[in-house]
């Protein structure tokens, strides 16, 4: 089992194909709410396909963009390394193990115009974020400007994060020439229902943990008095002592509850 602080990311384009010599790619399973080490699941050479944000937009969310990240595992010995590289002698001679990965990112050809009216079917439904009269390049820019680039240096990345956080506090304009959807608002299929839970996950975990601790203490403290209710040769103290103890326990429990 491994632990990490994680923020997921999605690719910007249409489709990405990832082929690696050593496992490292992990994808977010939205049903189990866990990272799935997809490359570690391969028992024979395989690639991983990721849906990007452009396709998500062009399919009106019927194809969700896939959250993923890359993890460096401490155990460098890898079945996938042998599977995808076979006689990679130079690799094995390298003192510090490295992971090599090839990512083919298919993106919409820049000059092609985008019109979601032409992509609307009974299956896509009415587009939540219709796009009309812009080029694929402009759509890409709009998507790109909403995210920081993970392939820049750490300092620049943090600066991008800060600016985007500032923007997020302001209005969530769609920008560009994105047409406002007519009619009643549709359910947001792009919305991941778990977002709220993710956002407050730490707080939720803290509260639940605190409640569990307080409950445990309360039970532990009340155990002698509970035992005293039973006729037992192991029970110590008198009834008068018990009467004194009970209010103390209640007070302590209430204080703990207030603190949460």
């Amino acid at each position: 089992m491994t632990h990490a602080w994680v923020i997921a990311h999605k690719d910007l384009g249409l489709l990405s194909l990832v082929i690696s010599d050593v496992p490292g790619l992990e994808v977010w399973n939205r049903h189990t709410q866990r990272w799935f080490p997809i490359e570690r699941s391969y028992s024979k050479p395989a690639g991983s396909l990721l849906v990007g944000r452009q396709l998500e937009r062009l399919s009106n969310g019927r194809y969700r963009a896939g959250h993923h990240m890359v993890r460096s595992y401490p155990d460098s010995t890898s079945a996938l390394s042998q599977l995808n590289m076979h006689q990679s002698s130079q690799f094995h001679k390298t003192p510090q193990y490295c992971r090599y990965s090839v990512v083919f990112a298919l993106r919409a050809h820049s000059p092609v115009s985008v019109d979601t009216d032409n992509l609307t079917t009974a299956i896509t439904g009415q587009f939540d974020k219709p796009v009309i009269g812009i080029t694929a390049q402009e759509l890409f820019t709009e998507i790109k400007n909403s995210h920081f680039n993970i392939n820049t240096g750490m300092q620049e990345r943090n600066e991008q994060r800060r600016k985007l956080a500032e923007k997020s506090d302001g209005s969530s304009t769609q920008g560009m020439k994105l047409r406002t959807a007519s009619g009643p608002p549709l359910p947001d299929r792009h919305c991941w229902n778990v977002t709220g839970a993710f956002k407050y996950r730490r707080e939720i975990i803290s509260v639940v943990t605190l409640i569990a601790i307080v409950a445990t203490i309360a039970v532990a403290l009340s155990l002698p008095s509970l035992l005293s209710l039973w006729p037992s040769p192991f029970r110590g103290g008198s009834m008068s002592e018990i009467k004194v103890d009970i209010p103390k326990l209640e007070e302590g429990f209430l204080l703990g509850t207030d603190n949460t």
Binding site: I7, F36, S41, Q90, S101
Partner: protein, 220 residues
Amino acid sequence: MASIGPAQMQAHAQREQEMIPAHALVPLRVIDLPRVIPCHHFCISDQGWTTVTFDMPTDHLYISSKALLQASRAFFELSTDYKQTFQTQHGSMEGWNCIKGEKEFITLRSLDCTPRILKDAASAYWAEAGGFLNELLGRIAESLDLPSSAMTVYSKPCIELGSEECATLLRIFRYEGSQEDQSKIVAEGTFERHLNFASFPMTSVNDSRMGYSTQRLRLA
């Protein structure tokens, strides 16, 4: 490529239909996807990722990827001075980049800016991967009840590594290994304006089960 019979397709289509709640949207059309086995189809739309299964051992996509991985290793072994000649004003969008302590990578967008040591392997792989994803995108369009050209119009101009730069790119990474006992993140994520994912402690379990099985659990 993994081939399946009509009966299998039909059975899988029926299973997918059964998995979709009654209140859900109109289901996607069931289309045969190249190099994606039927039980992995649903994952593409539902999760945004899936496994690409090679037709071993003769799959040209696999063979060309293997050659490119070999060539990449040779490239990254070259001196930093040489690799720096492939740095461009476009930053991470094109050319060689290095993020110390994390990774180095080269982004290829045109043949002219591709190091000689990578040219042949990159061209071959680009043709295979570009052709594959272009075909896949066409099938995805069909699953939405669109003609394949509705989507491939965006991808077709990019399926060859040419002399002119295009939106599509090929990025080759060398990630630094972890020297610590625990794993570390070497490609963290994006901050999303409309999807405010906060940092949270996450546990990943080395689970040998494929993520796909969870769909069935959810809908069971």
